[in-house]
Symmetry: C2
Subunit: 271 residues, 2 copies
DNA sequence: CGCACCATTGATATGGATCAATAACTGTGG
DNA sequence: CCACAGTTATTGATCCATATCAATGGTGCG
């Protein structure tokens, strides 16, 4: 009964995406995946999809395996990581309800370059690889949506690359915090770390110890950190970690309030 | 005269992609961009495209600018880099004839997150942004091609991330060399560094000094390096830098010759 | 209440950046 | 063809940042 499951799932999508953000939040990528699709197109996808439950720490897909599906997180958290020969891991992405993964990997050919692991118990919507691959040739809008999603992953990966290669740990952390601040509602002075600190540390290319020291460093400049709860003394406390990419997300970037002025948004020319 | 320019350009594409690789080389991405397109579709794209010359060191597009076109390199070399506030640069990609760039960035929305700079004098085919964006909605095959291209950029970016965050400089260099070896003809004992050493060093997230010392290190294990020319004493000299991603490119990875055996291709599970 | 697990803090060691000097190479003009 | 300047690569010496090792403290769960 495709129609029943369709309604069922779409309902859950909306409710999954909404709670985190009545404000200016990006509302995940689920909107992006289905945006502008005709009812028939959506029905085609959803009638071939199914949902699945995973336990905390369960491997959803392993490095090297062929990707079975494109996944959309209905509830819970997931991370994608890469392991090297010695078993050290690099966290590529950390995901929450409303976000998709394996969306890019489906088109890479060959086995998955990452492991996907459930951080906590979660429920996933699974759209089979073959369905997705076939559907982009039938519905250009769907192809366009995927292109935007993948393209944004790539952009984030580029940011991750230069964060790791030219920024100090404190700068990387500040950048991450600012980003969270902007994503979780740029008008509030408070926000939360959505993941475990050690996991964020790995994502930012540093050890938990270094992460902790970086936090201590940042506390000195008007930011209170208590467990996962962050509160800034003033709304500009994190502004000197801004860069052109983040300023595009900031409601104050073009106003005269912005302490970085032109230099923030337009930087990049070394001459 | 769209038809004349079409033939003209397609001819140059073939000749640009061919010389580097009579062998097993990937033949760039130009094949990917136009693969499987109908003559009408190709004509549509090319009739709206034009070519442009750039001088060495000229900035083709700046960080923050709106991307005007998708570019295909007809001749010469190009790099894409990001600058941080202090003017330090991170090299994201280094490109040769036959490869495309700004292909992903066109779909990101907002200004370009990278600078593109001509490494040497070069000639580029430019397909206007609007043309590309419109065309993916008209030709699903074109959209699919772009999806594959962007997706591969993303995969490379992920490799770059864990190279930088968990490998030593020697390992990063070894990995890069092995990749060049496989791309430039996996059966030859010789290959060349396609770019300046200092540029490769930056791409690999290290200083030129460290790069140089890493080269010296690698010389000790049966690899001769003279300027840009590399020759390996035996075909397996670089094998211990292999990983699942590279083994997929290696003609010997599944044979019993492979010194890494199963461990190379299947690695990744820490348990 | 006690056991894991995670975060923090301190002490130490080390790898790669930085600074500095030299050498090799590239191209240019006499 | 050689001399020169400018660039790129190599090699050496030093220093500092961050990983590592180690111990403690806090939190949540059974």
């Amino acid at each position: 009964m495709p129609n029943a499951s369709l309604i069922h799932i779409v309902e859950r999508l909306s409710s999954a995406a909404a709670p985190q953000a009545a404000d200016s939040r990006n509302s995940g990528t689920c909107g992006q995946l289905f945006r502008g699709l005709s009812p028939e197109s959506l029905e085609f996808l959803l009638s071939r999809a199914h949902t699945n439950l995973y336990q905390a720490h369960e491997e959803i897909i392993r490095q090297g395996e062929d990707p079975r599906s494109l996944f959309l997180i209905l509830s819970g958290q997931v991370k994608t990581v890469r392991y090297n020969a010695e078993g050290q891991e690099t966290t590529i992405r950390m995901l929450q309800a409303g976000e998709t993964f394996m969306d890019a990997i489906i088109f890479m050919g060959g086995g998955s370059p990452v492991n996907a692991v459930a951080i906590e118990n979660c429920e996933l919507l699974c759209i089979p690889t073959a369905t997705v691959r076939a559907h982009i040739l039938r519905d250009p809008q769907f192809a366009s949506n995927l292109l935007h999603i993948v393209t944004n992953h790539y952009k984030n990966a580029m940011q991750q690359i230069d964060n790791i290669s030219i920024k100090t740990p404190v700068e990387r952390l500040g950048y991450y915090l600012l980003r969270q601040h902007l994503e979780q509602g740029a008008d509030s002075l408070e926000f939360n770390l959505p993941f475990q600190k050690s996991m964020i540390a790995n994502h930012l290319g540093m050890t938990p110890e270094t992460f902790s020291r970086a936090l201590a460093q940042i506390k000195k400049s008007g930011i209170d950190i208590e467990q996962k709860h962050i509160s800034m003394r003033d709304i500009f406390a994190l502004c000197h970690f801004c860069d052109p990419d983040l300023s595009a997300m900031c409601p104050r970037s073009n106003s005269s309030e912005c302490p970085n002025g032109e230099s923030c948004g337009k930087g990049g020319c070394p001459h």
